[in-house]
């Protein structure tokens, strides 16, 4: 049975790195893995998403609406933007973090203020993490992607991989410590 994961965030948040590490772990578990992402314009502060599918044999790299088993949202509004991809009973992990788009910055649009409540109200399996704060406390806010990765790994029940090993392989040595700690903090979230 093929499983589908969607990682959504804002260009520059490290969604692609998190998905690369996730894919590597899934390959080590012996799965066929396909991953799809969009480069280019999306990098300039736009909305970005990575689609990751794994199973015995995967054909399409793309996820349809109501298909994702897990939606890992790096930003609150991005959780709402992609919520229609989540299957009924699927898990939403959302970072309690706001990034204003230019349309909000310049006052053309409003950033809604009750996003988390509405998400929790609609999606029964919602996990809220303040990953930015956790990473910030560890000394580098940029490591918030590893907190979220840790949380996803826990919920997917795939802790039986040497994730530390993979994280080290994808990051320069001076960032190892903070990222490994961030990952570990993420895995401390209780499993639903």
């Amino acid at each position: 049975m093929t499983k589908s994961l969607l990682l959504a965030g804002v260009g520059g948040q490290g969604t692609i790195l998190a998905s690369k590490i996730l894919a590597e772990g899934l390959i080590r578990l012996g799965y066929d893995v396909k991953m799809s992402e969009i480069h280019g314009m999306a990098q300039r502060g736009g909305s970005v998403n990575t689609q990751l599918r794994f199973g015995k044999k995967v054909y399409s790299p793309m996820i349809g609406s109501g298909e994702a088993d897990l939606l890992l949202a790096f930003e609150k509004i991005e959780a709402v933007r992609y919520i229609n991809y989540l299957r009924p009973g699927g898990i939403l992990i959302v970072n309690d973090y706001e990034i204003y788009s230019t349309t909000v910055l310049t006052g053309q649009e409003k950033y809604p203020d009750d996003v988390l409540d509405k998400l929790k109200h609609s999606v029964e399996n919602t996990i809220v993490i303040n990953a930015a704060q956790i990473a910030g406390n560890l000394g580098n806010i940029r490591a918030h992607n590893m907190v979220l990765l840790g949380a996803a790994v826990k919920q997917l029940g795939i802790m039986n991989v040497n994730w530390q090993d993979i994280i080290k392989a994808y990051l320069p040595e001076k960032f190892h410590e903070v990222n490994l700690k961030a990952f570990e903090e993420g895995t401390k979230q209780p499993k639903l």
Partner: protein, 586 residues
């Protein structure tokens, strides 16, 4: 051991294994990473060319000289390179030539979604379409063989979802072949009318053989499942269709898609009850099937516009499988891409946007992000080079209408080398009053910081001569007094130059020179220029918001600058009338 590779990485690997010796490209999403990856194989000579036409001519020349050559570009790049392609089909290519066209259904990063499969038909060259990364690797090797065997360039057509999706690949080793011997043969390689006339029937003869061969190629295969539904498909569409229908349908999966296999299509069509053709964008395969007198279902139920995905196919073939999902009652603000914090282009667009009566013809690059509010500083965007040439047209039309509306043409450094120089010559030659602004950010930024003739480095990182934009502008005849080089981080200086250009009655060129804020060696030294807002002085006039900088926000009733996002361009200091914006380190 299997590796997870993008389609682009797999194409590079395949070229390496095939023994490719020369590779060329001009960067363009979604094709850019092909050459970036090829450059890591030292056995292959690789280069960024100034544009796609030059890239294909270099690769074509290398192939005629006996090398196995590859040339990669995005779909619109093939419009630029079409000229050599059509004639290389006549001359043939001694060593082997594979032309990769990376199409962009869904326009993720392009100005149109043209379907380049028609180029194969039009230029009369064989075409191959892979559907995942393993096929990218295997089919590139196959493409080189086919090219050599038929002495023809081969079009290798991929799409964004093939280029940028990752899947598992088994890699092999390189087959070292050596450069073939080159023999002078003017009747084959000099296409004067008399000789070209003789080469055309040769091409037709090759195509006749290829039409037969297409039925036998293992790239075109039938995968039998249930025969109630038969699907003819190619590329990523095959993966989507197989995902939805599994063994509930049979598939004619096409990998060699020009010439299309007539016998195979007939055989398949006769064996299934209901025949579908599933393909992205144009009805390329469908039209072929219909010309054989075979009825099928295709674009009458599937969209021509946009990219396909499993869900769209499911709605047509298996609507009963539709899934439920969640909705959340929140008005979602849009999040368009923007000029980065500290982007030097902002320093040009901000003063330029003040000339509301002027027309600004824009071009392809990061500066296309200056189109949207709050900068609103562009009227047109057509293609590479039109930033200058369309501007000439505007100016001439206004002249005919007895209007003296000022026209600014804007383009970047890499685009100027690509196709701006000829346009600028046209402006000077035809006495245009166009004001040109060259946004020289010392890199090819939009596609991810590739080297170009102005950066002093080649694709492989070798030091090379820096081509001086100012000297080119001077050499094509713009008067020295009408050329100004400015630092776009200096608003006063830039404003003055824009004013001068606005008032000029001759071709005028501003070169706004400042490296992209995201280049590592420029962002580091600017870290101590990061800005902050002194709340005691801030009157909340929001003037700084008009810069459209993503680091500046009005949050919880105060103006704030996001320290992590700020790249220290200091433009906000310069626009603030109350002196409320300060440098963090003084």
């Amino acid at each position: 051991m299997k590796e997870i590779l993008t389609g682009n990485e797999a194409i590079a690997r395949g070229a390496y294994e095939a023994g490719c010796q020369v590779a060329t490209a001009y960067p363009g999403t979604p094709s850019t990473e092909i050459l970036e990856n090829i450059s890591s194989y030292k056995e292959i000579y690789s280069q960024w060319s100034v544009n796609e036409k030059v890239a294909l001519e270099v690769a074509g020349g290398a192939a005629i000289a006996g090398a196995k050559a590859l040339c990669a570009m995005k779909h619109v790049g093939l419009n630029v390179a079409a000229d050599p392609l059509f004639t290389l089909a006549y001359t043939g290519i001694n060593g082997g030539l594979v032309v990769v066209t990376a199409d962009d259904p869904g326009l993720h990063s392009s100005q149109n979604e043209q379907d380049n499969r028609y180029y194969a038909l039009h230029a009369k060259v064989p075409m191959i379409e892979p559907s995942d990364s393993q096929e990218c690797l295997d089919y590139i090797k196959y493409a080189f063989k086919l090219s050599e065997e038929y002495d023809l360039p081969v079009l290798f057509r991929v799409t964004t979802r093939v280029c940028h999706s990752k899947s598992l690949v088994t890699v092999g080793s390189r087959q070292e072949v050596g450069v073939k011997e080159y023999k002078k043969d003017v009747k084959k390689y000099c296409m004067i009318p008399g000789f070209a006339k003789m080469r055309h029937p040769v091409l037709e003869e090759k195509l006749k053989k290829l039409r037969e061969y297409s039925n036998e190629s293992h790239l075109n295969q039938i995968i039998w499942g249930r025969k109630g539904v038969g699907i003819i498909t190619s590329g990523i569409s095959y993966q989507h269709a197989r995902e939805i229908m599994g063994d509930d349908a049979s598939y004619l999966k096409l990998g060699l898609t020009f010439p299309l296999p007539e016998k195979l299509v007939r055989e398949f069509a006769q064996s299934v009850e209901k025949l579908y053709v599933i393909e992205e964008n144009e009805p390329y395969i469908e039209t072929f099937v219909r010309t054989l007198g075979i009825s099928c279902i295709g674009k009458d139920v599937l969209p021509i516009c946009g990219e396909l995905n499993p869900e769209i196919i499911q709605k047509v073939l298996a609507p009963e499988k539709a899934r439920k999902t969640y909705t959340v009652d929140v008005q979602v603000p849009s999040r368009p891409p923007v000029l980065c914090a500290g982007c030097p282009h902002r320093g040009v667009f901000y003063p330029l946007g003040k000339y509301k009566d002027a027309v600004i013809t824009g071009d392809i690059g990061c500066y296309s992000l200056g189109i949207l509010p709050p900068l609103n500083a562009t009227d047109t965007l057509i293609c590479m080079g039109a930033g200058i040439s369309a501007g000439i047209g505007f100016e001439k039309a206004f002249m005919q209408a007895n209007k003296d509306t000022k026209v600014f043409g804007v383009m970047g450094d890499s685009t100027f080398f690509h196709s701006g120089i000829t346009s600028l010559i046209d402006a000077v030659y035809n006495k245009s009053k166009l004001a040109v602004i060259i946004l020289d950010n010392r890199t090819t930024a939009m596609t991810g910081h590739q080297e170009n003739p102005g950066t002093g480095k080649t694709l492989s990182g070798d030091v090379s001569p820096v081509i001086d934009i100012k000297e080119i502008v001077k050499a094509v005849g713009v008067k020295p007094e009408n050329i100004v080089v400015v630092d776009p981080y200096d608003l006063v200086q830039t404003q003055e130059a824009v004013k001068q250009a606005y008032e000029a009655v001759e071709p005028f060129v501003i070169i706004a020179k400042r490296p992209c804020a995201l280049l590592k060696n420029t962002s580091k030294p600017r870290a101590n220029s990061k800005c902050t807002i002194n709340q005691a002085k801030c009157t909340k006039c929001k003037l700084c918001l008009r810069l459209g900088c993503p680091a500046i926000a009005f949050k919880n009733d105060v103006m704030v600058i996001d320290e992590a996002a700020c790249n220290g361009c200091t433009l906000c200091i310069q626009v603030c009338k109350t002196g409320a914006v300060e440098r963090m380190c003084k």
